[in-house]
Amino acid sequence: MNLAFWIISAVTVLGALLAVSLRNLVHCVLALILFFIGIAAHYFLLRADFLGTVQILIYVGAVAVLILFAIMLTHNVTGTDGPREILGVKWWSGAVIAAALAILLKKAILSDPLAMVLPAGDKAQSSVAEIGRALVANWVVPLEAIAILLTAALIGAVVIALEEIQKSR
């Protein structure tokens, strides 16, 4: 089981690194998608198949497309025309923040070995039913709040679109 874990983690980290270092913006997004798929693979590895599928459905299917559309609206997408400095001042500040974060999380990462997370039986029951029951039973209020938020967002999108149609007619 560990071998699969290390391979998938390597792919995910590679995706993340590429996402920040490639010149062409579209390639960065593709690397980001590779990263999302890597995370989905982790979920499948941990027998959380519902979460893995939802990860693919939401992140790869919708968020990545959103980012791609956002890129379409930017100008220098191919990254060849603008000035590029990778080792400028920003790089150092980034590294310092990352180091501080690592120290804080050290305790959580190293406290428990991997085994604890894996469920007892080798063939664990699918988590869909439990997630559904939990969502509707003791997490009902946040569920309804999110529902209202999403509806508001939907109505907002419609309003913006209507404005544009009024203007262009």
Partner: protein, 379 residues
């Protein structure tokens, strides 16, 4: 005329317009024809038609050849219906030279022109629906009917599309009984095809959604742009040369001329369907009472045919619109000036006014609904 590059469609995001050229090598421009389209997203902001790719210098050429010599070239103008092109040229020369055409030849001319109108309108709506996206089915049904008519043209004149069948003062070959029977069979089967076609497409919701209220040509613009033919009649212009000039024997035949009201792509489609039904009525009348007699005026010489000096303009109601020939003769065997009024070219001038504000997909259909043929546009 090209719109300024940055259009500020929303106060925050400025989107650039996309300039693409549809054509000259494009699946749905009905020939070598280019449209420089400025797109804002999917919406057409500006459209400039570019023509001239198929220019063959026909009018200059005609001044070097004898009167009869340029008759085969008129087949290549609107290569979909060579019969009505021939008729327009023959009519212009007969008006100029004062030649009288025998009765049977006039009947044969009406038969040929109306048959060519049937196959032209059938292919026109076939191509229009092909542009709408129906995968070739309506087009091939229309072409099945067109094949029958082209076979009849080949049996009579020798060639399917380049007939070169009309002569000054009549027609070249007489119709024997076998050919008349063939024509009657075609005319009898045509309404069956039309009913099947109408049931397939006229009430189809997708066609309605795509064609209704798209590319509206207002009546005043149609008259101002001197648009002629089904495109004008769909917008409400009541003008059909067969009724105005009453050339040939059209005054003795009773038939209706359908006129629309709104003038969008759907009207232009349906006007052509109704015109086909009228042409079938005309053909039935002519085929019923075609008289016997000579098919060629006697006094027309084949070689050394001269026309007294002067100029004249003869026109015919072709399937695409008013096809006219303006000829100037200075008494010699060759015309001094030979000018053609091409309906497709003139109908094309209003293309931009119809397309602006619509989507790219609509621009293609509007072009299809005008039914242009590049041989006639570029001459």
């Amino acid at each position: 005329m090209i719109a300024e590059p940055l259009i500020n469609s929303a106060d925050t995001i400025t989107t650039k317009t996309l300039e693409i050229s549809i054509g000259p090598q494009h699946p749905s421009t009905h020939g070598v024809f280019r449209m420089d389209v400025v797109l804002d997203g999917e919406v057409v902001r500006a459209l400039k038609p570019v023509v001239g790719y198929l220019h063959r210098n026909h009018e200059q050429l005609a001044e070097k050849i004898s009167w009869l010599g340029s008759m085969p070239y008129t087949d290549r103008l609107d290569y979909f219906n060579s019969m009505s092109n021939n008729w327009a040229y023959a009519l212009a020369v007969e008006k100029l030279a004062g030649i009288k055409v025998p009765e049977r030849a006039e009947c044969i001319r009406v038969i040929m022109a109306e048959l060519s109108r049937l196959q032209n309108h059938a292919s026109a709506i076939g191509f229009l629906l092909q542009d709408c996206g129906a995968w070739g089915t309506p087009l091939l049904y229309a072409f099945k009917e067109r094949e029958k008519i082209l076979d009849f043209f080949e049996t009579v004149s020798g060639s399917r599309m380049m007939c070169n069948y009309f002569r000054f003062g009549g027609v070249r070959v007489d119709l024997n009984d076998a050919m008349l029977a063939m024509a009657r069979k075609i005319v009898a089967e045509f309404p069956k095809f039309l009913d099947e076609f109408e049931k397939l497409m006229t009430t189809n919701e997708v066609v309605l959604a795509r064609c209704q209220r798209v590319g509206i040509l207002p009546r005043e613009l149609a008259i101002a742009g001197s648009v002629s033919g089904p495109v004008a009649r769909a917008s409400g212009v009541e003008y059909d040369i067969r009724k105005v000039d009453k050339y040939g024997i059209y005054d003795r035949l009773e038939f209706g001329v359908p006129v629309g009201r709104i003038g969008d792509v759907y009207d232009r489609y349906y006007i052509r369907v109704l015109e086909m039904r009228e042409s079938v009525k005309i053909l039935q009348q002519v085929l019923r009472d075609i008289p016997a007699g000579p098919v060629q005026a006697v006094e027309v010489k084949l070689r050394g045919f001269k026309i007294p000096a002067g100029d004249g303009y003869g026109r015919v109601e072709g399937p695409k619109g008013e096809l006219g020939f303006y000829l100037v003769s200075e008494g010699g065997p060759k015309p001094y000036r030979y000018h053609i009024r091409p309906p497709s070219f003139i109908n094309l001038t209003v293309l931009e006014d119809m397309c602006v504000g619509h989507k790219v997909a609509d621009a293609i259909i509007i072009l299809g609904s005008i039914d242009i043929v590049l041989g006639e546009v570029d001459r």
